[in-house]
């Protein structure tokens, strides 16, 4: 189990990030990437436990015996989804600055980049990032709170 997790988790995370970035043009996007990232964390969690997430992965000190609600990674998960909501709303508000309706999106194609030749930068990516953060934060919060019981 631990060996599997050791090998699989990085692969899943890379896959999740690539799904997030390519989501606009190929299958993928914030929802899928978020759920997939959660699965990676869940794998670590099932294999090693919540404290390992703090001590081993995130390199923090763990104070044993504290309630789940004070657990630092749980706080971090909650922060993640609040951050995600903030990003999503802010990306929507950004459109207002250009005199567009709330949540309008646009895109530019940047050309002559080495290797990629051209890259499309869509403002929707910011919104998708918000979606991603919310999904990760929410699912991990639920998982860790329920799991701690």
């Amino acid at each position: 189990m631990k060996t599997t997790a050791r090998i699989m988790v990085p692969i899943i995370l890379v896959l999740a990030i690539s799904l997030l970035l390519q989501g606009h043009n190929l299958p993928g996007g914030g929802f899928i990437a978020g759920v997939l990232t959660t699965v990676a964390f869940a794998l670590v969690y099932v294999a090693y436990g919540l404290d390992y997430l703090d001590a081993g992965v995130l390199g923090r000190d763990v104070e044993p015996g504290r309630g789940i609600f004070e657990h630092r990674s749980v706080t971090a998960f909650r922060r993640t989804f609040i951050l995600g909501l903030a990003i999503a709303v802010a990306s929507g508000l950004g459109a207002l600055a250009f005199d567009e309706p709330f949540l309008s999106q646009t895109f530019v194609i940047v050309e002559s980049i080495p290797i990629y030749h051209e890259i499309e930068v869509a403002s929707a990516l910011a919104f998708d990032l918000g979606v991603y953060c919310v999904v990760v934060g929410v699912l991990l919060t639920i998982l860790s709170v329920v799991g701690a019981e």
């Binding site: 929802f31 759920v35 639920i142 329920v146």
Partner: protein, 113 residues
Amino acid sequence: MSVALAFVVGGLFGLGTFLLLRRDLVRVVWGVAVVSQAANVYLISMGGVAPGTHDSVPVLAGHGEPVPETTDPLVQALVLTAIVISFGTTAFALALTYRAYEENETMDVQEWQ
């Protein structure tokens, strides 16, 4: 529309309803889960289910290419959000189940008045 698809949606809704009416709270939560699966399949069927081809996936070949006739992308977008939301509600229902059991010390919904 295909009878098979209709039969499946009807069957899932019926079985889900039966689960919702059980006394065991966990089975009620299963009922919610089954009904949301049924609703998702139903939504997809409203977009029309055609035999899949290379073109029918609503991911286009590239910028500026002609647009092929895809399946309905809107129902897919609806279902995508529905999947994540139904996970949220299922998790919430489970948390409620657990707390209800703790408070009432029974899983029988008929017994809490």
